[in-house]
């Protein structure tokens, strides 16, 4: 198979056209005005507009809160699911994975409808609840996966060396499952910042998140400002994925 | 070159990423012969086999099959077949279809395929397994199918790449006998790659011993065992004690502080040599009468058929001895070696010799760094010289950072009272070191040489 390396060429060309070029276009449009001249005004506009800035801050805040709640709720669940003494049923695991396979919009809509039927006013509380509801499986699954793949002999070795069960958990299981948590964070944090339909549904469009203002600008043909906002989001993605060291490709591989 | 050479390898060389894996390989294989390429892992034997099969193109040299150069022919057009180390059976096909794979591609009529496959499976004792999936077979069974799959095409030469390496000992022994039987029945030429010297001795008509990309020795199993040409071969094939000695004159050699009669001639007088003594060739007895020298038994281990003992000789050398009788550790014994059992080999080198360049009055550059040394009168900066230093003058340090130069222990040879090490430096140069310290293969070391111990010589002076 030595000479098959050129088989990567079609995909390389495809990716240059449909991945690299589009991202460069975001940068290009971000630094242009409507008539195609270079400008920084789109970027400065974002940093001087208090509405945009507060939306941005709120998005980050909601994303951090959502990620934290997902870890707090998801880690114990993943641990219980992966523990043979506590859970023997494959069905429960499937039940946790399944929501990932159902259209998020449908699930969000269902949640919003349930809230309005129960007479709960849509707002930040319902937004956060809905987000957790949407993204919890994406946190549980990668953690569950790393815990399942973890060689049991590490824990046995720790026990053998005199560690009590709770110490084994904190000193061995938790550190070793860190890559799973990292990939869970990547799968929850960025989508939360960027989503627009979900926040619109869950707050009846009362609270705007960063994704919503990008969408509104693009849809009202303000491409350059929309591109500038997308550019800022790209930079955040760069930072988060560098922090997360793209370990996720291993765990994200087999979703089935 | 005679007519019945089926394979002829001429001046074959191959490098991977600047490292020479095979260096000017020359040998031939006769029609119907069982040839084994033997050597430690990484010696280039598998690379050579893959070149014969056609998976790797040689950098230089030719491979002749029945007198025709096949170097440029792709593997699927070569009338050779390979048995791979990890079988490489097609998991999606059953046993029959695996064996029939090559015949189907040749568009052999279906009737004939059935006949040939059935016959071949019978020969490897897998007749009842035709419809089985290959995943359901044991390692030994998969091996049989792999052999049948290759042989069913009646190749001119069968190439086998460590085919028994993955089997357990008992199974390996059985398969060795079966391979030998198949070879006899089919009359096909076998080229067999292995790192197991016992396997090579058992199976082969001819053994080609490899080390570091070069052929060390070619010969029959008996030749290679009884008359190794250098210390590498002696150490690699069978158990042996290798000792420093001096050839006093023809048929008289000194080692372990004693003089012995031997049968070797033509080395010259007072020439340093390596001496090989096989443990089963040392006679051990309770009385000192009739013995050539004495020793004290240090350890005695039962090995099934014989006892293996380490004896410290009267002059402080350690000698391995095998005998059917046990001798108590601590007891004094007499020892005797017959002239015909002493194998004398020319030394490949007696000291380290490296190319160097004079830097100034007290420094030279060699092995990629600067060394202080006593530069004698008459050498000027820029002179290209040879630097020589004795094996025991190289000092090895535990941390590679502490030495002027870093390296790795590449090969060890115990010589009775000290270790002779081959060190591979970080830049890929070889150094040889005599030491009493114990190192293991793969240990990382720092290297130092005292200025007074480096002697300079003019090149080709």
């Amino acid at each position: 198979m030595v000479k098959r390396s050129y088989w990567s060429l079609p995909y390389l060309i495809f990716m240059v056209v449909f991945v690299v070029l589009p991202l460069l276009l975001i940068v290009l449009y971000a630094f242009q005005d409507g008539s195609g001249h270079f400008t920084l005004s789109n970027i400065t506009r974002f940093f001087t507009d208090s509405d945009s800035l507060s939306t941005f801050a709120l998005s980050i805040e909601v994303a951090i809160e959502n990620t934290l709640i997902c870890i707090l709720l998801g880690y114990p669940a993943a641990w219980i699911l992966s523990n043979h003494k506590l859970n023997r049923s494959a069905v429960t695991v499937v039940l946790f994975i399944m929501p990932m396979w159902i259209n998020a919009l449908m699930r969000t809509l269902a949640t919003a409808e349930l809230f309005s039927m129960l007479g709960i006013t849509l707002g930040k509380g319902t937004l956060l609840f809905g987000m957790v509801y949407d993204y919890l499986p994406f946190m549980i699954y990668p953690i569950y996966n790393t815990l399942m793949k973890m060689d049991n002999s590490y824990a046995e070795a720790a026990e053998d060396l005199g560690a009590a069960p709770w110490k084994v958990f904190w000193k061995v299981t938790v550190p070793l499952s860190f890559p799973g948590v990292m990939s869970g964070i990547l799968m929850v944090f960025m989508p939360t910042v960027s989503t627009f339909a979900i926040s619109e549904f869950l707050t009846n469009n009362k609270i705007k998140l960063f994704g919503t203002i990008i969408q509104e600008n693009i849809n009202s043909s303000m491409w350059n400002y929309g591109a500038a906002l997308a550019f800022i989001m790209l930079i955040i993605i760069g930072i988060t994925s560098m922090l997360g060291e793209t370990k996720q490709s291993e765990t994200e591989g087999g979703l089935i | 070159m005679t007519q019945d050479n089926i394979i002829d390898i001429q001046h074959l060389s191959k490098s991977f990423g600047g490292v020479k894996v095979l260096d000017d390989i020359n040998f031939y294989v006769r029609q119907g012969e069982f040839v084994t390429l033997l050597g430690p892992s990484g010696c280039g034997k598998t690379t050579l086999l893959r070149q014969i099969a056609g998976f790797i193109a040689p950098d230089e040299g030719r491979i002749l099959l029945e007198g025709k150069d096949i170097s440029g022919i792709p593997p699927y057009k070569r009338p050779l077949n390979t048995v791979f180390q990890r079988y490489a059976l097609f998991p999606h096909l059953d046993v029959f279809d695996n064996v029939a794979f090559g015949l189907k591609l040749q568009k052999v009529p279906r009737k004939e395929i059935e006949v040939r496959v059935t016959k071949m499976l019978k020969m490897v004792s897998m007749a009842d397994y035709e419809d089985r999936s290959v995943d359901s077979l044991s390692g030994g069974q998969q091996q049989r199918v792999a052999i049948a799959r290759a042989l069913v095409n009646y190749p001119k030469v069968l190439l086998l790449d460590e085919p028994l390496a993955a089997l357990d000992l008992k199974m390996r022994k059985d398969m060795q006998m079966e391979l030998k039987e198949i070879h006899r029945k089919m009359g096909i030429t076998f080229i067999y790659v292995t790192h197991d010297q016992e396997e090579a001795l058992t199976l082969s008509d001819t053994i080609v011993v490899f080390n570091e990309g070069r052929i060390q020795q070619i010969g029959t199993p008996a030749d290679i065992y009884n008359e190794p040409v250098n210390s590498f071969v002696a150490d690699f094939i069978g158990e042996s004690t290798i000792l420093n000695g001096t050839m006093i004159r023809d048929r008289r050699v000194e080692f372990m502080g004693h003089e012995f009669d031997c049968v070797d001639e033509g080395f010259g007088e007072n020439v340093p040599v390596d001496v090989v003594v096989r443990p089963e060739d040392v006679y051990i007895m309770n009385q000192l009468e009739g013995a050539q020298f004495s020793g004290v038994v240090k350890s005695c281990i039962f090995k099934g058929v014989h006892y293996e003992m380490f004896v410290e000789t009267d002059n402080g050398f350690e000698l391995m001895v095998q005998d059917y009788n046990a001798f108590e550790p601590g007891s004094t014994v007499g020892l005797l070696i017959r002239p015909g059992d002493i194998q004398v080999m020319r030394k490949e080198r007696t000291c380290n010799t490296v190319e160097a360049v004079v830097e100034d009055g007290s420094h030279i550059k060699m092995l990629g760094c600067n060394w202080e040394c006593e530069v004698p009168e008459g050498f000027t900066p820029g002179d290209e010289v040879l630097a020589e230093f004795d094996f025991e003058k190289v000092e090895l340090l535990d941390n590679r950072e502490d030495g002027k130069l870093g390296g790795e222990v590449h090969f060890l040879l115990y010589k009775g009272d000290h270790y002779h090490l081959t060190i591979l430096t970080d830049d890929g140069d070889h150094l040889w070191v005599d030491t009493n310290d114990i190192w293991d293969k793969g240990d990382l070391v720092g290297i130092e040489i005292a200025p007074a111990d480096i002697k300079l010589k003019r090149r080709n002076g």
Binding site: Y11, F18, N83, T111, S249 | -
Partner: protein, 266 residues
């Protein structure tokens, strides 16, 4: 005791996750246009859904058809492109391989909105009129990386000598590819196809930005527009219930089967 606590926790979370879906499912069996208002048991909504009856059921069904068609085409192309690419990348070494893997990761790390906006800008920039073709191209873009990721492990698990063995037995490189390599990679290609298909089904944001203005709707964009209009088409309730059941059954079959196969292997 510990086990009971653990089980309680698990089922509490599951109750939270499934409450909205159950709620929708229950109210799919009543005729009321407003959710939460039970007007007696009825299967009329289900009947409407399949006969394309009242209340915009027909445009809903065409959205469903679009969704399935786009997912199918995108998944087929992604599987071919991704498999070829995986074989190529597998044979690359060093820096080139790292670059390809890095590029392959970008669409997976990028949130949908970035992929959507960037492709929207591309099509605007190239003056490419947006519709079916652009949506499918966009879907191939974010689906192919998953195919590459599911085929690559099969390549590295494969005994590297298998391909050589085929050549050794007289197969030309293209025959060896067809008869040995593809059968070996098939499980990876199938799971890559399924991933691509479901990723495409689930997508909203990328479709939203690349569908243009020709009125092309997939299920996601239909729901979005519907919800923005305020009222939810009642037929969505039976549709969601059916999708929900279908996915659940499929996943249960796949997972229980593989769990059983694993048990057998042990």
């Amino acid at each position: 005791m510990k086990k009971i606590l653990a089980q309680c926790y698990i089922w509490l979370l599951l109750a939270m996750l499934y409450a909205p879906l159950l709620f929708i499912a229950v109210f799919s069996f009543t005729e009321s246009r407003v959710l939460g208002n039970w007007t007696g048991f009825s299967t009329k909504l289900y009947a409407n859904l399949f006969t394309g009856g009242v209340n915009g059921g027909s445009s809903l069904m065409s959205a469903v058809e679009n969704t399935l068609l786009i997912a199918l085409i995108a998944a087929v192309f992604s599987t071919i492109l991704g498999t070829v690419a995986a074989i190529g990348i597998f044979n690359l070494r060093g820096r080139k391989r790292q670059t390809m893997q890095f590029l392959n990761n970008i669409p997976m790390i990028n949130p949908d909105i970035i992929t959507g906006v960037s492709l929207f800008l591309l099509f605007v920039f190239l003056k490419f009129s947006q519709g079916y073709v652009t949506v499918i191209l966009a879907h191939i873009t974010f689906c192919t990386p998953y195919v590459v990721l599911s085929v690559m492990p099969k390549l590295s698990q494969m005994n590297p000598n298998i391909y050589e063995a085929a050549l050794d037995l007289g197969a030309t490189p293209s025959t060896a590819l067809r008869k040995v390599l593809v059968p070996e990679l098939r499980p990876g290609m199938i799971s890559g196809f399924i991933m691509a298909f479901t990723m495409s089904l689930d997508d909203f944001a990328v479709t939203f930005f690349t569908r243009g203005t020709i009125g092309l709707d997939t299920l996601s964009t239909y729901i979005y527009t519907d919800a923005r209009k305020g009222g939810l088409t009642p037929e969505l309730r039976p549709l969601m219930t059916l999708i929900f059941l279908l996915v659940l059954v499929l996943l249960l079959i796949i997972n229980l089967r593989s769990a059983r196969a694993e048990n057998k292997a042990k």
